[in-house]
Structures are given as C-alpha cells and as structure tokens.
C-alpha cells in the first residue's frame, strides 16, 4: 500500500516535486530551442497544487480549444504525463518546424498534426529524461497521443487520474520565447506507488 497521498503533501515534498518540475521543464525548453533553432528565454516555471476541480479552468476558459499530448509513463515508475499548448503557441511551433511564416493560422493538416505530436514527444521525452537522471530511475514513455479539443475535455483525463487517488492535482506552467511567448503546461501523473519511488530515490523519507 502506498504511503504517499497527495492530501498529505507538506512543504518539503512540495518543494521536491516543484524542483523536479523546474528541472524537467528547463530540459524540455532547451530541447525545443534546439529543435527549432530559437533563442529561448525561459521564466521560472510555476508549479501549482490545485483541487482537481480547478484543472478544467487552470490553463484557459473551459471551452477554449487547446492541444494536448498524452504519453503513458513506463518502467520503474508507472502513470502518464500530459503536455498542453494553447493554440497560438501550437501554431507558432508547427510553423517554425514546417518553415512557414509565423502568422500562418490555417487549420492543421495531417502533416502538421504529426509535427505537433513530434514536438510533444520531444518535449515530454526531455522532461522525463531529466526526471530519470535525477532520480536514477528508468523512465520511458509510450508513443504520443494527440487531441485538439476543449480545454476542459482534455483536462478531464488528468482530472480523472488524480481523482482516483484524492482531490488534488499538480500542474506545472512554463513560459518561454523571445519575440513570441509560448505557454506550455505539464502535468505529470505518476500512479500512487510511483510517488513513493520518486521521493525515496531522492532520499526524502516518508
């Protein structure tokens, strides 16, 4: 039986989770800037500890269309993670990757969607590899799955994951860019036993 519960997060655990989020998001940002050859300034990511009911409105209004990339996390820890982008940011990144002008806003075609999936894959992969390095745990990810839909509908997936264990959720918001600011959001959803493993690997006793 897992000892950890998101209800019991005290300041120290929260700091640990926050720091993992920072490092992961930092690594992911570097990956994007390399991929797209962008000069990237990154702000310190904001780690929010929310009631799961707040998730649907945490990144935008409920009905605003956003892009969500979902991966299952496997090996030493189990669970899943999600990377979300506002549509403006998603278009900007895809345009960069496809060599189009920044203001091109036509709906995504098949090619664009697979480019977006790949962006999500690289970002999430670098996030997880940072987590793997720090914890010394083997962490791998499934292929990426993409959905473009209402924010609340996409966020129902992590809300349900967190909802199984308690009433809290962890959201990491990151902003980066030079001329255009890209807003991305990470949600890491380890299954409940994996929290113990992550914290234990960092020498945080429960």
């Amino acid at each position: 039986m897992a000892k950890f519960s998101l209800e019991q997060v005290n300041d120290m655990y929260f700091d640990v989770l926050k720091e993992l989020g920072n490092i992961g998001a930092g690594n992911a940002t570097t990956a994007i800037s390399n991929m797209l050859n962008l000069k990237v300034d990154m702000k310190v990511p904001k780690v929010q500890f929310l009631d799961f009911q707040e998730l649907p409105t945490a990144i935008s209004a409920e009905e605003e269309t956003v892009a969500g990339i979902y991966l299952e996390v496997e090996n030493d820890i189990g669970g899943s993670m999600m990377f979300l982008l506002k549509m403006e940011s998603a278009h900007y990144l895809v345009n960069r990757l496809m060599g189009r002008p920044d203001d091109y806003m036509e709906p995504f075609n098949e090619m664009d969607l697979s480019a977006l999936k790949e962006i999500g894959n690289i970002i999430s992969g670098s996030y997880l590899s940072a987590l793997s390095t720090i914890t010394n745990l083997i962490i791998t990810a499934s292929v990426p799955y993409l959905a473009i839909d209402m924010a609340a509908a996409i966020l129902s997936v992590p809300a349900i994951q967190f909802g199984q264990y308690g009433d809290k959720a962890l959201l990491i918001a990151t902003e980066f860019g030079d001329d255009i600011t890209i807003e991305g959001f990470f949600i890491l959803m380890p299954d409940i036993d994996s929290y113990d493993k992550i914290l234990a690997s960092l020498g945080v006793a429960l």
Partner: protein, 160 residues
C-alpha cells in the same frame, strides 16, 4: 432565464425557465434528469464509475453511483416526482486513442456503462444518449422542454 453552471464532480438542480449546463465534458458523463410535468431538472457531472472501488470517496458527485443517487435526492427535494423522472446522458469520450486496455483508456466507456446501470437500478428511463467517440462536449439541459443540447468543436448543435 438564468444559466446555472455545474463544475466537474458537481451537480445542480433548476426549474424552468432556467437552464443548467456543464462545459467541456471529456471522459466524464453529464447526467441530465427532469420531471416533464413540473419542469424541474438537474445535471450531474461525474468523473468515475464506482465509489466502492475507491479509498477516498468523500465527494459523492464524483462517482456515477453516488452522484446519480444524490441528483435524484436533490431533484425530488426541489419538488419533482420521483416516478416521473427521466434521464438523458452525454460524454464518456475517449479523448486519446491510447492503445491497449489501460484503465484510463476506457474510463469514458466505463462511466457510461455505470451511469446506465445506476439509472436502470433506480427505474429511471434513459430517453436518449450521446456518448463515446473521441471529442469533448458542452451540454445544456432545458427543463422547460426536456431538451438536452450538445455542443462540440467543429460540429453542428445536436439536440436529444
């Protein structure tokens, strides 16, 4: 006419001409229920199929079984006749085409099944449903007519 908003793991009751809505249902289910004579309705936004499978089930509106029971309780408390209650449901999408039979991959389907089973157990007829597939839905219940509006990105308004 007032618009009453239901959040995630939440439920609300209203009387015509007011309407009750929940925005962006994904794998969750919106359970609309009303008394067609008195025009009293309610909407529950449940997230998980079964409270008995969970350690933490203090939030009764989170689960299909306890959420539907509570919805019936609150609608009848508002004056509706339990024997006249009818239901419509929407949501339960599979937002990501996750391969294999992971628990999260089919939670939408399980939510829909659990909701229907609970309605059946309580003897409340299910008049219509719009569940499954892979997109989010905003729903609105108008107790004045019993119409249940379903809105989705890039799709025409559907009324069931």
């Amino acid at each position: 006419m007032a618009t009453i908003k239901v959040g995630m793991a939440d439920l609300k009751v209203c009387k015509a001409p007011d309407m009750v809505t929940t925005l962006g249902l994904g794998s969750c289910i919106g359970i609309a229920m009303y008394d067609p004579v008195l025009k009293i309705g309610g909407l529950a936004h449940i997230m998980l199929p079964d409270s008995t499978q969970m350690r933490n089930h203090s939030n009764i509106a989170k689960f299909a079984d306890t959420g539907i029971e509570e919805l019936v309780k609150q609608i009848t408390r508002a004056g509706a006749n339990k024997r006249r209650l009818v239901a419509k449901i929407a949501g339960g999408a599979k937002m990501f085409e996750v391969s294999g039979a992971s628990a999260i991959g089919n939670v939408g389907l399980r939510n829909a099944q659990a909701s229907k089973a609970k309605l059946k157990q309580l003897g409340i007829p299910l008049l219509a449903e719009d569940t499954g597939l892979n997109y989010g839905r905003t729903v609105e219940l108008y107790p004045a007519t019993g119409e249940f509006y379903i809105k989705a990105v890039g799709k025409k308004l559907k009324i069931i």
